[in-house]
Subunit: 401 residues, 2 copies
Amino acid sequence: MIDFPYLSSIVQKTPSRILMLVVDGLGGIPHPETGKSELETAHLPNLDKLAQHSAAGLVTPVVPGVAPGSGPGHLALFGYDPIKYYIGRGVLEALGSGIALHQGDVAARGNFCTVSADGVLVDRRAGRVASEVSAKLCERLNTIRVEGVRIEAHPGKEHRFALVLRGDGLSEDVSDTDPNRQDVPALKAKALKSKAERTATAINTFVGQARELLRDQEQANFVTLRGLSKVPTLPQMGAAYALQPAAIAAYPMYRGLASVLGMRVIPTGATFTDEVASLRTHFKEHDFFYLHYKPADAAGEDGNFDAKVRALEELDRFIPSLLNLAPDVLVVTGDHATPAVMAAHSWHPVPLIIHSSATRGDSVPRFTERACAGGSLGRLPSVNTMLLALAHAGKLVKFGP
Amino acid sequence: MIDFPYLSSIVQKTPSRILMLVVDGLGGIPHPETGKSELETAHLPNLDKLAQHSAAGLVTPVVPGVAPGSGPGHLALFGYDPIKYYIGRGVLEALGSGIALHQGDVAARGNFCTVSADGVLVDRRAGRVASEVSAKLCERLNTIRVEGVRIEAHPGKEHRFALVLRGDGLSEDVSDTDPNRQDVPALKAKALKSKAERTATAINTFVGQARELLRDQEQANFVTLRGLSKVPTLPQMGAAYALQPAAIAAYPMYRGLASVLGMRVIPTGATFTDEVASLRTHFKEHDFFYLHYKPADAAGEDGNFDAKVRALEELDRFIPSLLNLAPDVLVVTGDHATPAVMAAHSWHPVPLIIHSSATRGDSVPRFTERACAGGSLGRLPSVNTMLLALAHAGKLVKFGP
């Protein structure tokens, strides 16, 4: 939670509603041929108009220069210091597979891989084995029994799976078995702290049995594990902010992340149209909504500049229907930049606009990186977004006499 | 004090003088009809000209989104982290009544109130009883004797009074007796930590005796207490900055705050004209002056946009006489924003200008929120203001070899 020890003494419950639209991978950088970013290239009449009447700024998800994953990028927007509250790769992978994790559970990201007869890794991704094949192989893995620990392998896309360990006294302080390169053997899991011995032994027992169960496979004849991590104990948004928060996201990982923070996850369909319909249905039930828009990031990751422009233009068409719901505060921002030119998450600051009856506009003409840089919010760490949203909703009283 | 552990090794005594003009509630937001803030509406030829030749920026008192009280707002400007150094309501109320508080003293804010025969609160403000009446009733309260503790009730405005407890081993960790709503009985004071038992008992004894002494009153027949707090141990400005700091403020609370920080409080009259006359008289005696201007905040709190504009215009007329004193550094800023549109303190960043022979101007045309956003100081936490003032006065040597 944001490092402000008096938070509980300044939050107050009000009927006002906050809608936070998180455009995944929102920010970009200019295309070398046009000198214009994705936002500058896109035709965004509704977002531009909204920006003109909002408080605008640029947010930095973690620290300048650091490109965040979706985990830290989102945590920051909800007011959680992403350095203090780290969610490990294994947990995020499991959440992304729609697996419900509980306090104490340990999760790892698994890969099916190919090893030679003498155990040397020859393909870390088992030739990107088909998802159906790896689903079947997960069924085999789920026959493995290790004393005192319940182990579940949940299939993911292609060679990927999520491994979940449930039981008492498990530890996340265990090293990866994935050596992160080929032509070497996979590693033994090692306890990084003494209390992790039992967990490391359980992992090694599981891996040994997996080797036997997969021996008949040509490609996916072994597994590697990495990012062993535990669901962190996180302050819950509802209690921390005196809110009844809800999340609407088509992708499981974002739903999982929201549930870990204590948001109610509202069931929805696979498209943003579905998400907006769900929002409309449940709009009277909550005072804070996190609404996730994925396509901008997907296009950016693919390095497809035009597709990202189109994804932003598609989003723009939904803005009037969001405004029609009359949220008291509408926040539009992103969890990080995903410049199509880089085909990856980046460290660039991300546009932020906050629209409410307390904002009259900052003379920012457009919803772009360059225009928002001139707004009244200035440059902020993303972790400040949540308190600003609450302030604009009248949900914070004065601090100190 | 600002979190820079080498401060004592870089401060140096010089003959240069800093004048810090704190315009209470300086910042604002645009009027919905004109789209212009109070500063943008006001005719401020002298402040605008000063801004043109100053380093300009916007400061955030505590953290973005948090509206501060006068206490944290001022502490930050003097370089004290307002989260680390909290001054409680009782202490601030007592300081505001002009009561000298010493280390170990505990103060609370008191209200005269009306209770029914069975002890239920029917009016938390005793019908805003006349100040003369409550002054007389404070005399009665001052006859109360509690063993081992000296208790003083100092009358405030209308139903308000400040209660001061003096003695050894007193604690501030005692709950309010004010339930903060009506139609319920007042609460017993409770020790929030075991070492606070004696203080809680003293409070309850005082309250019990007060009930008897006020029983003949129709309106002010009881008291409630809240915000029990101790004078915090604060680094003293003089020692920390190698300064001889002085404060000139018409309102007692700001004088009290300054005295707690170790400033010499220069006696002055009730108006800003008086304050400037006092400044002129004593200008050779100190190397740092805190000069407080209250009317902008008062008008903002009243929700009176035009009055706030006039208050700013009145201030503007004093700028030439301040410059005539030839301070080496003139800082003009505010402790927080008080937008008239909101009729309350707000979280919005506040303009800051620093004028000295080391500043040549930032091409900032006016002393407004939007113009100062474009200045060379950028967006800063208010807690950085003090070191910048010292630097511009040549009072800081190089840090590190």
